[in-house]
Symmetry: C2
Subunit: 209 residues, 2 copies
Amino acid sequence: MPPRRRSPTDATESRSALLAATQRLMLEEGYAAVSSRRVAAEAGVNVALVYYYFDNMDELFIALYRHGAERNLERVEQALEDPQPLWRLWELTYDFSTNALAMEFMALGNHRRAIKAEIAAYSRKLRTLQIERFTSILEGYGVDLQRWPAASLILVMLGTSRFLQLEESFDVEIGHADTVAVIERQIRDLEGERQPVSKVATISLRRSS
Amino acid sequence: MPPRRRSPTDATESRSALLAATQRLMLEEGYAAVSSRRVAAEAGVNVALVYYYFDNMDELFIALYRHGAERNLERVEQALEDPQPLWRLWELTYDFSTNALAMEFMALGNHRRAIKAEIAAYSRKLRTLQIERFTSILEGYGVDLQRWPAASLILVMLGTSRFLQLEESFDVEIGHADTVAVIERQIRDLEGERQPVSKVATISLRRSS
DNA sequence: GTCTATAGCTGGATAGAC
DNA sequence: GTCTATCCAGCTATAGAC
């Protein structure tokens, strides 16, 4: 393919195009494929613009991470307002693209300090929120929190779904259906049959803010 | 540091040195740090030797993966012979270096076909073995396998421990102690207090082969 | 804001001497 | 088996014209 040229009228969309291209590349070819040249070509933009909009490649990654993190936090908050927060959490973490991107960032953060710090800060914030809210939700369900602390249920769900997805991206699916069935049965025991996302929740969220 | 020179007498240890250096680099700095030049320097060996012993970098990675995979398979088989196989599986997957390396390989395999295929093949083989053996082990414990298929217990354990470790490598540990406590309580319910690795198991394994 | 041009580095891989 | 030398590609980042 020839590099996509933007129409001359789309002004300072370049920054967004670079972010979008970075995400696309990370998902399709892994973070190692994201070089200034490739991301620029993919965005249909000149290489030098990468350094005009971002101090360096790390900053580009961090900008993308923050953007995704904010969106994800909003989705989690919305899920927590839903009448079936466990079902929503499960759906959220079983969403492929979110998860795959998170994995790429973790692999990337593994050897880049600035990115590592960013991920750690966000993860702590998110986890704290999840535990706090699920503690009262599960209490409402009559769960014995001494035996089953909210943190343990959340981490088991997150860990399992991430692991299943990781394996699935390698076309390994042995035992997955059994595992999903067990987890969904446990959720059903607490929240009943899964219902579609409640629109009421979104409205009440708006009302309360 | 100056590159470590080997004593002139150590003959064809170069190959092993390269493999060891690759593993060290992957663990300490991530797979992206493994270049032919760096791995050669780290092993105290000339760059050209990398291509003498391995067709290309992918083959070097695959050779290292196979070596680790074989060793791991042996350890799993030994764990399955132990009187407390669940405890042993838990310990094995909660071992840091095994896990960290596996993660690096997965990130690497994510965008290198040859490596991806290697990981997939090994994972399927390992999972099949684990499910087969744990099905009869759990049956012996009186577990209701309809409600709790062996695969689901194994995958939840593996997924959770991997996730906890991943987070811990980012210094995020919120809720981890609670989660570990819950899982270890469940194991204790089935296998009693954790005992040190049984030597008898190793002997009986030898006898039966 | 966008581009060209370029410096300076690191990478994979090979040819050929010893 | 081991080494030197080398080719060529791709990368980050900057200077400076427009």
